[in-house]
């Protein structure tokens, strides 16, 4: 019995230790954002009073406001475009399915095998040829339609009752009307899940903007924080404030919608 109690205690010690390790880097990041660099390197882990000064330095040396705005604009455009295009397609593939569409879907799923690194050079050349470098359009285009999103919406359309569609048709509702006025409201949770995935991917995307956002005016958050650490002397307070700002939107989404977030991760399994 004593042995069991000891094991039980060890289990909690282990879990608390792991949780601490999991949270600590983020906590350290947030706390360091309020401290001077001198205090950060001498191991201060209590909140300080230099938040405003760090922000002033960050804003003076880097275009943080612009990067935030660009990132938001790109991510929201990507999310809306992707939800519209992929949900209509997913609905179409399920509700009107026939041999031809099933085959097309199978072919589209093959695109999930293509890693971004393998197509980034041709994509870059295409975007350059079209004169779209440094634009939101270029940022969004390769991710508007993904087989994964179409698949996600096709799966959810499977649970959409066919009787409702037939009834609505008898009432004289158009096919597009049925989609927008009946499918969309019922499938709200799928939209939330899909929206979180797309927004996070777009907000965090680094490699693609690194290639196409060459002008200083089109800088996005991942590029900005990646630049923060360049140079010989690092102002840790300022760097950590920049990083904190860049993870704030996604951490808020995570804390508010943790279950949809987990659902989004799990949906790649089905």
């Amino acid at each position: 019995m004593k042995m069991r109690r000891l094991l039980n205690l060890l289990k909690y010690v282990f879990l608390f230790a792991m949780s601490f390790v999991s949270i600590f880097p983020l906590l350290w990041m947030a706390v360091s954002a309020t401290n001077r660099s001198v205090d950060v390197v001498t191991g201060r882990i209590l909140p300080g009073t230099y938040l405003v000064e760090n922000f002033r330095n960050l804003a003076a040396q880097h275009r943080i406001g612009l990067a935030m705005w660009n990132s938001f604009r790109n991510a929201i455009t990507a999310t809306i475009a992707s939800l519209v295009v992929c949900s209509i397609a997913g609905y179409g593939f399920e509700i009107y399915h026939d041999k031809g569409k099933d085959w097309l879907m199978r072919i589209l799923l093959l695109s999930m095998m293509i890693p971004f690194a393998a197509i980034m050079i041709p994509l870059f050349m295409m975007v350059g040829k079209l004169g779209l470098l440094n634009t939101t359009t270029a940022f969004v285009l390769p991710t508007v339609s993904t087989a994964f999103m179409i698949f996600l919406f096709r799966q959810s359309a499977r649970y959409f009752p066919v009787d409702i569609i037939e009834a609505a048709r008898l009432e004289g509702m158009s096919e597009l009307g049925i989609f927008f006025r009946m499918y969309v409201p019922i499938m709200r949770s799928t939209y939330v899940t899909a929206g979180i995935i797309t927004f996070m991917n777009a907000w965090n995307n680094y490699l693609w903007p690194l290639i196409i956002m060459q002008s200083k005016d089109s800088i996005v958050m991942p590029l900005l924080i990646s630049n923060l650490i360049a140079g010989y002397v690092t102002d840790y307070g300022m760097v950590m404030l920049g990083v904190t700002l860049s993870v704030l939107p996604t951490v808020i989404i995570f804390l508010l919608l943790q279950n949809s977030f987990a659902e989004g991760i799990l949906s790649s399994m089905r």
Binding site: S111, A117, P122, M269
Partner: protein, 293 residues
């Protein structure tokens, strides 16, 4: 009857209108570029001045020592990091699966939280934590564990260790979520029966949890392998591939060849195509596994 048929045909046509825009986009932004990459890999030259060169790039690929180093690094990550992470995720998931566990919600949120951070952000946080004057060295020297601060990104194995620590921090909770979902499908009475039979926690873990989660373990192994093959953000921002290419990843090498040195698109495309083949084979296995589940 004829009327019904035309109605069906009309609906099928509307269905096509629904699926065509998304499909065209996938053809233009996935299938066309991969064909282009394949064609590019048979060409050589600087920038966009390219000419047909046969298998030149593929011959070069075989003798490229930097590429060999990058592939070697990726395999080091695969062999060391993926098993540690997946085992840790499995243990955590089976501990959290206990319905009588206290603070369950807290543990789950805490362990899952790293997934909310972008790859660049956590790479920079880890780079700062493990800097020469960073918090980890402060702690190690203050506690007298080491005499002098460790220059983590200064030597090959500490730099690789840093990448491995960082990757494990970021992705353990992610994999745990998969295992937790899998464990929920296992009937709790199996565990209760084992408990009555006097099976220890370890036995229950190795005899019930691991065998029943096998398909999901395979799935997460493939996903992790896939992710490791495409590793980029972390090596770029944590160690910048250094020291002396000791942490360089394949994707970062492709990026360097295309956008940092004088652009060798043809050769970079040949390496890209190699990565594509590796990922494609893995994804194929993954789909097969998914089918039989």
């Amino acid at each position: 009857m004829g009327h019904v048929l035309t109605l069906r045909r009309r609906q099928s046509l509307i269905g096509w209108l629904f699926v065509v825009p998304a499909s065209v986009l996938i053809f233009v932004f996935y299938f066309y570029p991969i064909v282009r990459a394949a064609l590019l890999s048979f060409q050589t030259g600087v920038g966009v001045n390219l000419q047909y060169a046969g298998l030149f790039n593929y011959n070069r690929l075989l003798t490229d020592t930097v590429l060999r180093a990058a592939v070697g690094n990726v395999f080091i990550y695969l062999i060391i990091q993926v098993p540690i992470m997946l085992l840790l995720a499995l243990i955590l998931a089976s501990l959290l699966n206990d319905p009588n566990l206290k603070f369950r919600g807290f543990f789950r949120t805490a362990l899952f939280l790293p997934c909310a951070t972008s790859l660049v952000s956590y790479a920079i946080v880890f780079r700062s934590l493990f800097a020469l004057d960073g918090f980890v060295n402060y702690l190690l020297t203050t506690l007298r564990i080491v005499e002098r601060p460790i220059n983590w990104i200064g030597s090959p194995w500490t730099a690789r260790a840093l990448i491995i620590i960082a990757l494990t921090w970021r992705w353990t909770g992610y994999n745990m979520v998969f295992y937790l979902a899998g464990l929920q499908n296992i009937d709790n009475s199996i565990y209760e029966a084992a408990l009555i039979d006097g099976a220890s926690g370890f036995t229950r873990f190795t005899r019930i949890t691991i065998p029943l989660l096998k398909p999901i373990i395979l799935l997460t192994t493939i996903m992790s392998t896939n992710g490791t093959l495409q590793l980029f953000d972390e090596t770029m921002n944590l160690t910048n591939g250094g020291p002396a290419n000791a942490t360089l990843s394949i994707s970062q090498y492709i990026y360097r060849l295309s956008f940092e040195y004088s652009p060798r698109f043809g050769y970079a495309a040949a390496i890209s195509f190699m990565v594509f083949l590796m990922v494609a084979v893995l994804s194929f296995i993954q789909m097969r596994v998914g089918d039989t589940r």
